[in-house]
């Protein structure tokens, strides 16, 4: 049974196209998600992340989309399936105001939402207690007004509400937005903790590229097209020299100097980070690096400092989007 669960497809999207009138939003997107996976949906604004999630959560009418889509073996194309799909999924919106009744206590909110899934008060309270405990929501706040809670606590109550009916799939819209930097990692680790303990499949729509740290797979979208749907480490390894990167701090860095470096034969990708920092990816990293340094010195490029590292998902994302933009420029 457990081996069956491990391969059970929770979400299957094949050739999804979404259009509103003449405006095509999603172009032929296909992917499938197994039970227990955390999927990160990445892309700049307007990439189509939210639109795909809206199709999966029955928010877009069938007349606006085509393709074969299944959520928990049910297609949102049929209206009669909507109740069953919605009973099987949870949703945590970006804004807590859309998810929580601020005038109610957390436990009252639990009762309000749980009752919509046909759960009785006792059962809902029990699940809420276990979720609140996993999410470290202080017990003395459970029966106090939500208004008195901090932003982070509200966010966690919101996450708990999304899971109150033990859904198989949880959709989270920008879970780390509006949370201060120190708490972002906490939120992500709570999600991972929930995923491990409940084996819930999760979709995280986010601009926060650090979220890839907890994702089993990432989807990179650009202008409605799915560029990648893969394990993040695999994507990094697909970079030249398996993602090894050299980082230079160069005095008086400018476009001329960057163009000179680009001309070095092994150099594959260059990313400018801030005013003086440059990250370079190249083939045959170990062999090419001393040669590159020599080349730069010969060309009069003064290196203030240098370090080597492995590229992060953030770098991969930037390079992938950059690559796509360059392709588009050539086509134009």
């Amino acid at each position: 049974m457990s081996s069956y669960n491990a391969v059970k497809i929770m979400v299957d999207v094949q050739n999804l196209n979404v259009a509103f009138g003449n405006k095509k939003i999603i172009h032929d997107v296909s992917f499938s998600v197994k039970k227990g996976e955390i999927i990160g949906m990445f892309g700049i604004s307007g990439a189509g992340k939210t639109t795909i999630i809206r199709v999966l959560t029955c928010q877009i009418e069938k007349k606006n989309w085509t393709g074969n889509v299944k959520v928990s073996d049910l297609t949102p194309a049929k209206k009669k399936n909507h109740s069953k799909i919605l009973a099987n999924i949870g949703y945590v919106p970006q804004l807590e105001t859309l998810n929580l009744y601020f005038d109610f206590k957390p436990m009252v909110n639990v009762d309000v939402f749980a009752s919509n899934y046909g759960m009785n008060k006792k059962e809902a309270k029990e699940i809420a207690r276990s979720l609140f405990t996993i999410l470290d929501i202080p017990e003395d706040t459970w029966d106090k007004s939500l208004k008195k809670m901090s932003g982070g606590e509200k966010k966690r109550v919101s996450m708990a509400l999304g899971l109150i009916h033990r859904p198989e799939i949880l959709f989270l819209d920008e879970p780390t937005t509006g949370v201060d930097a120190s708490k972002r990692y906490d939120i992500l680790s709570y999600l991972k903790k929930l995923n491990r303990q409940l084996n819930t499949t999760m979709f995280i729509i986010t601009h926060d590229l650090e979220a890839a740290l907890i994702c089993d797979k990432v989807a990179i979208l650009r202008e409605g097209k799915l560029l990648e749907f893969e394990v993040p480490q695999k994507l990094i390894l697909s970079l030249p020299s398996e993602g090894l990167v050299v980082r230079f701090i160069i005095e008086g860095l400018n476009n001329d100097k960057i163009n000179i470096i680009k001309k070095f034969v092994s150099v594959q990708k260059i990313i400018r980070v801030g005013n003086e920092m440059l990250e370079v990816l190249m083939n045959n990293f170990e062999e090419s690096l001393p040669k590159l340094i020599q080349y730069m010195m010969e060309k009069g490029i003064k290196i203030n400092s240098m370090s080597r590292d492995v590229a992060t998902f953030r770098r991969y994302f930037q390079l992938r989007i950059q690559e796509e933009e360059e392709k588009e420029k050539i086509l134009m």
């Binding site: 928010q59 109740s83 919605l86 999924i89 949703y91 859309l98 998810n99 919509n116 819209d173």
Partner: protein
């Protein structure tokens, strides 16, 4: 004094006028930019702006079109019951009228009077139950006055004795009692003049459905209007924000909960609240000395119906509004039009016909007559006004469901 003047002079000399002028210029510039920003903000909520700009002239035009019409008093519907040729059954004094010539002439005078609209003439010699029939017409508001020609009317006038006309005016609304009596007096004047009769004529009035003297007169005459305004206003105000301000509805729609269920739950909740409001209103009215001829049940149903119309309009406003401000503005627009056309300023029957049709589509035009009928005449609640209110509320309930089902929610 000189010291003070000196100080001021010194201050003026030391004042940097050029610098101050620059500051003033900058301040004015900022002010203008901020005014521009305010206009930009106003433009973002177009509906609100349209209501704010268009409503005041609409109200004035509406009020003007109601008031500018040449006010010809609407003839008062009446029935004449004649006992003139009847045998007066009195065990001590059996009298029988031999003639009824003057009764016919009086009916002619009633017909001639512009103040009266003769609906029927009943002769008690032909039907013993004519007074009962006439009273039923009075209670149903088909007529406003029963004019009774007494026994021996023609014989007394033939003998040059002073005539007597009896009348039973509908007196549930004290504002109309005098109008009713004046109209009957007008018919008597025409009758005297046409027939060169003795000008000594007696008009005996017996008020029907008036408030007994041992009850608070002012309170009881005004409370019926007050009740319908209060219950309608409160129930509408209570519901105008129930949809527009509840943001988590968007999230509730991502549960198996259906839109229809969400709206029905709102209706059910506010119907329960309304029931409590109505009970409290009736209790407080009774404690203040309400003279209630009809049943408390009928009054409860009537007030509930007026309130429910308010609930349905309130929820409709909430379902169509994008913002709280828009809901408030729409409520004001609805309420002011409903109040203006309710008949409290100008009787509905005196309005132009097209406005009458519109007025009868509004709830408060039915609330006061329905409640007054129950309170003063013991009428049943289930009449024209009740069914009109039922239709109005059904209309707004349907509209509110359509608006809510089409309302855009996104999370």
């Amino acid at each position: 004094m000189m010291k003070f003047v000196g100080k001021i002079r010194e201050k003026i000399i030391n004042t940097n006028f050029k610098g101050n002028l620059e500051n003033l210029k900058e301040s004015l510039f900022r002010l203008l930019k901020m005014v521009k920003k305010e206009f930009r903000l106003l433009k973002t909520d177009k509906m609100n702006l349209i209501i704010a700009l268009a409503l005041p002239p609409i109200i004035i035009v509406l009020f003007g079109s109601m008031s500018n019409i040449k006010y010809d008093p609407v003839p008062i519907p009446c029935i004449v019951v004649t006992n003139d040729s009847n045998t007066f059954i009195n065990p001590n004094n059996y009298t029988e009228t031999k003639i009824d010539d003057f009764a016919i002439l009086y009916v002619d005078a009633v017909n001639k009077s512009k103040d009266l609209d003769l609906i029927a003439v009943y002769n008690s010699s032909e039907d013993a139950y004519v007074m009962e029939t006439a009273r039923n017409d009075l209670i149903s508001s088909r007529i406003q006055i029963i004019i009774v020609i007494p026994v021996d009317f023609s014989e007394m006038l033939s003998s040059r004795l002073p005539g007597i006309i009896e009348c039973i005016p509908e007196s549930s609304d004290f504002q109309h009692i005098q109008d009713n009596l004046n109209a009957v007096q007008d018919s008597i004047n025409i009758f005297i003049e046409d027939n060169h009769l003795n000008p000594k004529f007696v008009l005996q009035a017996y008020e029907e459905y008036s408030i007994p003297s041992n009850y608070n007169f002012k309170f009881n005459y005004n409370i019926t209007l007050m009740l319908s305004f209060v219950i309608f206003g409160i129930s509408t105000v209570l519901t105008i924000l129930v949809v527009v301000q509840e943001k988590p509805i968007a999230r509730l729609l991502l549960t198996p909960a259906k839109r229809v269920e969400i709206l029905i739950s709102k209706y059910m909740t506010y119907m329960i609240i309304l029931s409590i409001q109505v009970i409290l209103l009736i209790t407080s009215c009774l404690s203040q000395g309400l003279y209630l001829r009809g049943s408390i049940f009928d009054l409860f149903i009537a007030l509930f119906m007026v309130g429910f119309t308010g609930v349905s309009i309130g929820i409709f406003i909430s379902a169509v509004s994008k913002t709280k401000t828009e809901a408030n503005q729409l409520f004001f627009a609805f309420y002011i039009i409903i109040v203006i056309l309710s008949g409290i300023f100008i009787p509905i029957s005196a309005m132009p016909e097209y406005l009458q049709v519109f007025a009868y589509m509004l709830p408060l035009s039915h609330g006061d007559p329905m409640i007054r009928g129950i309170v003063t005449k013991a009428k049943s609640v289930f009449g024209f006004d009740f069914f009109s209110l039922l239709c109005i509320s059904a209309f707004f309930v349907i509209l509110s469901f359509i608006a809510f089902l089409k309302r855009r929610y996104e999370v």
